[in-house]
Chain length 465, copies 2
């Protein structure tokens, strides 16, 4: 059967659903196509279940502070692994149900539960059907990378696709790859009582390029579970368990969490029929401001792009792609200030320009270690560091890296300020409540302020009426 539509969206994940929300405002001639598991990566195996596990780990971990606060009996607390995992799944199911009930559950023939394959930029094979579409949005997402050789170890190699399905916590686990999910889950599982070893072939964690913040983060997290950095991991079978070796170090574990990144889902999509060059991952070039692929009526959004694999960016890209899919001519939109948060404890966040992209000759850096900060001391979380980067001439904020309690919230303040083009002086005139973690940011800004060439007159905190 041939079907003619204005827009075909391939992928019913977050990016595809955001695209759909825009498309629907312009036309009811659309199809949403997804032959895989529904409910979004975010809700099923990503943001949501990981945060639920982190919360359990955090609450259980706080017992270490109970004695100093006069709370007795903390040493008798124990974690029931199966129940904790069930709690995580219960919450996950709530989130997945919510996604489904807001999307495909209420769709009729506009939803096709099939794989899609391009025949040309405006024609798709979807199961038995041919879809002719004036525009197509590619939002097929990504999946975890697992080295071919590790497949031999069967279900002892986990990815986030399986992790939250576990019925019991393993006694020991190696987490290989300490980017966002590896670090978050490594710490959460360690706090739940799993003997975790964290391994990464790079010498940093959570994508922290700033060497000072990276060192503080490694020192803090490394106290909770060993971090083996800068060595590739090798796995072999030993007495029915897995021997994981990285450089000189080696550990025997029950399970391995492979968290070495994700690969765009492009196999079988027929992108070669688009008539544009594909890179080594099989991806076509696209414009990050219009999400358009070349000059084609084809748009791409979300994790499949291999960039900014973060929900709110998938939302922005989906909106841009969906909006442009129904315009006569695609428009270019500003992208948001980069904001990446790792919900480990303390949070790690990177905001604005990446450290490696900054010109050391042109920036000033303000920094603070959180040690003596009042509120952090009260929270029992007085480890951390905040570094803020600004143009050293005029004090305009460019970026920040931090490892800090409530770092997720500081990161929003910083991202919003950078997006508005504010300077360190603008920020020092803002209210900082006492006692708050925001005062830690304030201390970093005071440090930064002294390093800027052009200073305002009078007290820096005061602005003339």
């Amino acid at each position: 059967m041939d079907k003619h539509v204005d827009v075909a969206i391939i992928g019913a994940g977050s990016a595809g659903l955001y695209a759909l929300s825009q498309v629907r405002q312009a036309t009811d001639r659309y199809v949403l196509i997804d032959g895989g598991e529904l409910g979004t990566t975010c809700a099923r195996v990503g943001c949501m279940p990981s945060k639920a596990a982190i919360q359990v780990g955090e609450d259980f971990h706080r017992r270490g502070l109970f004695e100093r606060m006069g709370i007795e009996g903390g040493e008798a607390l124990s974690l029931n692994g199966p129940e904790a995992l069930e709690h995580v799944r219960d919450l996950r199911d709530v989130f997945v149900d919510k996604v489904l009930s807001n999307s495909t559950d209420n769709m009729d023939e506009e939803f096709l539960a099939e794989q899609a394959r391009f025949l040309s930029p405006t024609e798709l094979q979807v199961g038995e059907d041919r879809i002719q579409a004036k525009a197509v949005v590619i939002a097929t997402g990504s999946r975890p990378v697992v080295p071919k050789a590790w497949e031999a170890f069967g279900d002892r190699i986990l990815t986030t696709d399986d992790l939250f399905e576990l019925e019991e916590l393993p006694a020991s686990m190696a987490v290989i790859g300490l980017g966002t999910i590896g670090l978050e889950m490594g710490q959460a599982l360690a706090r739940m009582g799993v003997e975790v070893t964290g391994i990464d072939q790079l010498d940093h964690i959570a994508g922290l390029q700033d060497p000072e913040v990276r060192q503080v983060a490694v020192d803090i997290l490394g106290k909770e579970f060993p971090l083996w950095l800068g060595q590739t991991a090798d796995i072999r079978e030993e007495d029915g368990r897995l021997r994981v070796t990285a450089g000189e170090q080696s550990v025997l574990v029950d399970r391995v969490l492979a968290a070495m990144g994700r690969r765009p889902n492009v196999e079988g999509l027929g992108l070669e029929t688009l008539g544009v060059p594909l890179d080594e991952r099989g991806l076509p070039a696209f414009d990050t401001h219009s999400m358009q692929v070349g000059e084609l009526p084809v748009f791409i959004a979300g994790d499949v792009t291999g960039e900014r694999a973060i929900l709110h960016e998938a939302g922005t890209e989906g909106r841009i792609a969906g909006y442009n899919a129904v315009q006569e001519r695609p428009l270019a939109f500003k992208r948001q200030t980069p904001l990446a948060i790792n919900f480990c404890d303390p949070n790690i966040a990177v905001v604005g320009s990446a450290w490696n992209d900054l010109d050391p000759e042109r920036i000033a850096i303000g920094e603070v270690k959180l040690g003596p900060l009042g509120r952090a001391l009260i929270m029992g979380k007085n480890k951390g560091m905040i570094r803020v980067y600004a143009d050293k001439d005029d004090g305009r904020l460019l970026g920040a890296s931090l490892v800090a309690p409530k770092g997720e919230n500081l990161a929003h303040l910083l991202a919003w300020s950078i997006q508005r083009g504010l300077t360190v002086f603008d920020l020092l005139r803002m209210p900082f409540y006492h006692p708050s973690i925001e005062e830690g940011l304030q201390a970093a800004l005071y440090d930064l302020r002294g390093k800027i060439a052009r200073q305002p007159e009078g007290p820096v905190e005061l602005e003339r009426l």
Copy 2:
């Protein structure tokens, strides 16, 4: 002995010390005068020990969520009152020591541990000495109000001056006055196991004027301890305990925390010699932008003003007063966007224009209840409400009231945005990370957005490049 100085600062609390920091940049001819207890209200009996107590209450209270998370043994946890109180004092002492070591500990003859009394706008009697000062800063702070009649009940009536000195937690307590400190301490003590009854003669709590947010806050907090609102409390002796009655309701308690506000410290200051009118509290009029009293070389800052009794405002006022005390002509400065946070759980915050000052005809209100919000559900804190007010014509943000987990952090985002004059549309273009409490604010902003007359073209989240 007569002493001539450029500036005399009366009061070595937060406002006085901030004033001093400005004065020192211009002259070393100054005196700081304080005949009372040193260490600041904030560190000794205010912000800091209250937050320490709240943290203990919060950590102990979380045990109620342990079972659903698979953490076993929570029902066997107990709070050792004397140890919890000692922990609070230990932290307090750290903060007080830090204040002292950064201020009066290192001062020599510039610090006078005496009471000061004006003889004229430029002359002070300080113990045996006369100080002639070119300018004077009044920063004498405030003290808790206790009705005269209650003095008969002796040390069973507590204020924040004594609360943190308790060696043991009382079994029962009435907290009379549910503004900032009363509500915070009422909840913290209830969570620590004290049978608390909260009473206020007004029908609101934590200064919440917005009736919707007030109701949600009363519902949430009222589940932890009874709140008797809208009735004046009366106390009488009964069998060695205190019978506290408010309207039809009555309770027998061991102690009463009087938290009915604070009174400016002006007695004996000789303000009548300034030659300007004094109000019924004994305070002269002053300019909130210059902190100048009339046309005199006299400035006033901090809690003694009877306004904005919040540390960061004392800091701003102290800076303005200190800076102006050493200028030829006082300058007028902008004040920060109002920001008031109550650290009860969930936090209550009021930002920007007060509800009662808004013109209902000219504003639009965006609101959200936090119930189904992902992150709040994960945290086990899915009760709350956020209301944001904007100009209904152009969407410029005017203020907000909220009761929400991490409300302290949302309040900073809102205050900074309001101070920069941003609109609801500007904010919807900002990154909101997932899953975060900031997404609750985002939901309120979406609700608000639809109620604004002048809408931008295209998707509200996207800005043309």
